[in-house]
Symmetry: C2
Subunit: 419 residues, 2 copies
Amino acid sequence: MGKMGSEMLIYVLLLMAGVLASGQSSPVKIWPMPASVSYGHTHLYLTSDFGFSSNYGSEILKDAFDRMLALIKLDHVIDANFSAFNSSSLLQGLHIIISSPNGQLQYGVDESYKLIVPSPEKPAYAHLEAKTVYGALQGLQTFSQLCYFSVTSRVLQIDMSPWTIIDQPRFSYRGLLIDTSRHYLPVPVIKKVIDSMSYAKLNVMHWHIVDTQSFPLEIPSYPKLWDGAYSPSERYTVADAADIVSYAQKRGINVLAEIDVPGHALSWGTGYPSLWPSKDCQQPLDISNEFTFKVIDGILSDFSKIFNFKFVHLGGDEVNTSCWTTTPRIRNWLKKHGMNESQAYQYFVLRAQNIALSHGYEIINWYSSYTSYLAKQQYYTSYSHIEHHREETFNDFGNKLSRKTVVHNWYLLIFITQT
Amino acid sequence: MGKMGSEMLIYVLLLMAGVLASGQSSPVKIWPMPASVSYGHTHLYLTSDFGFSSNYGSEILKDAFDRMLALIKLDHVIDANFSAFNSSSLLQGLHIIISSPNGQLQYGVDESYKLIVPSPEKPAYAHLEAKTVYGALQGLQTFSQLCYFSVTSRVLQIDMSPWTIIDQPRFSYRGLLIDTSRHYLPVPVIKKVIDSMSYAKLNVMHWHIVDTQSFPLEIPSYPKLWDGAYSPSERYTVADAADIVSYAQKRGINVLAEIDVPGHALSWGTGYPSLWPSKDCQQPLDISNEFTFKVIDGILSDFSKIFNFKFVHLGGDEVNTSCWTTTPRIRNWLKKHGMNESQAYQYFVLRAQNIALSHGYEIINWYSSYTSYLAKQQYYTSYSHIEHHREETFNDFGNKLSRKTVVHNWYLLIFITQT
């Protein structure tokens, strides 16, 4: 994966700010905008013991509710005299109904929900219903955006009641990429990113774990791989990674793990130098060495015990094959197998894909001219020019590829088009 | 208070980074460096139930200990097999002795401590002793910097044991300024700043609450003052401010509240336009209007119920008095009282100081050519050129003023010189 320039990041953030600003004409301040919203013009006030009840006894839901209340309060002190309020304007709690309590978090899980504030049957309560707990999590995020601490009423307040919101995501894959190879991110920082993603209803954290610069993750099958970390403390143990996956899942977010082979893998050779074509020419991974594919197999085997999202990302972009042709051992191997550089690149990517398939993963690769003709089972992600990502070109882009496509907006937002 | 340019901030941060980098030749990685440190060369490992005991039954201490452990863990999963460790290298807890349990947090409180790891008497424990709980808090910060999560041992580890650290602060006033007028900071952000200050053993949060741009704090005596906030939600209630003070005190940090009169107070007039010289000339505060001093009295009266640090900051810098001479009503008042602009400025600052004194505060003002000859009871803070703040000029600067001086390093660090 290539590095993103800070200028581009600023440009993208400005674009996003523009999108936000253009929505300011609507009185509905919910982001992202739900599929259907109706509202009124009365005020409601949350009681100091505002609680929740549900037909679904889940720690996930209880914890999410507690986080939501803290998020609304923003540490403000609630010191109102509730007896001064009209009791009909007080909201005492949120009731949550989940109709399919056994759903596991996976790609395509039902995230729809319906939020009614106040409930027509029980006007002292808000009503949230969803097919799955993950839909309920999205409904809680929406509810949190209806509430704010009012310095006038001194309580958590809802304006524009009654609300009826019926929502489901437009895109089933809504991702954000973090890159822990170029910059190590401490576990608490990754958790903050996950928290932030949940506020925006993003549901895939694309973890670009390793790259040329560093290899921060423990791989028990090949324990010297994380010798390629920046320093001993800039590492994640298997337990850390599993903790991150669990933390994300409790927030309705899948973790897409990535290794970027063969072109962004120089750091692998710190622990295992035989993965380099030579000491002086260290990338891409040595295609002529069976050990290379054993290591990939070991990594993906270990991944499968931690990262239980149905997809894995195998990178595959920006491969400069010159080290293969300038290293005599590899040049001879190519000759023996009758491959030119382009064919060798294809061979490597397909072989890595087959290893991932053997561990039960579906596959995503970066889009590039080299990989565009590769195996049909794969999803592509792209980081082509930003012009590609305007709304009207999404479908063209998908149609051109004629298969499922993850369109990637400068590492910030990822959508699967509806092709 | 003048605005600080971002270039200057970057410059100061680079200077600080330089200071940090220059310390890298020492194997002792404690910041700030304690007064006396000795160490050895053995490893210790904290048990998974590492706890603390004390002769002092204080929630402050218990909470600080819990925060410290979380800070060391950095969310890493401790999954070691402790039975594999040599029991003599295991540290089971920290014992804290406080000899003066009744000390209140105030300027000059004893912050000294002695930390011995492991205790010679009980080698399975670390030993921390301090005169006050605030000294113990500093000792906990130092202890936290001895510990780290090791990916090798899979536990919290201490290197270079045994440690004997005897420490007391070189400066009794170690501050950081936040400016909630130019940019509103949500309460959780202020709490993060306070957390960060505690890591660096800073002990005064100088809260530049209001200025020309906005008035975010509730003042019950004059309830329209916070009409000058940027928006209804960008405000602090009295309860919020009291919560911030309490949060800081539990971390050994005093809060220095500031109003900056008469020159940085335009936002006061949003709620009370009669504080402006005129609608077209809105600053400094109208010196000819008794209401101006009533409002200052009301603010400082309300402050005294929230901000119990012995000092209050009255600003007093950068006063352009032209609105006083161009507004006929005020020009006449000056003439009647036989004051030129400079005398009027002095009159205003001294009168505000007397109001603060009547509420039991000692006073700090910004240093400026106008205020340098003012009342002897005051402390000065300065934001002169950065050249003033080199170590060798601290004392010159203090001697020149011939009184207690708070030297202020671009709003980042504040020291009282030893004059």
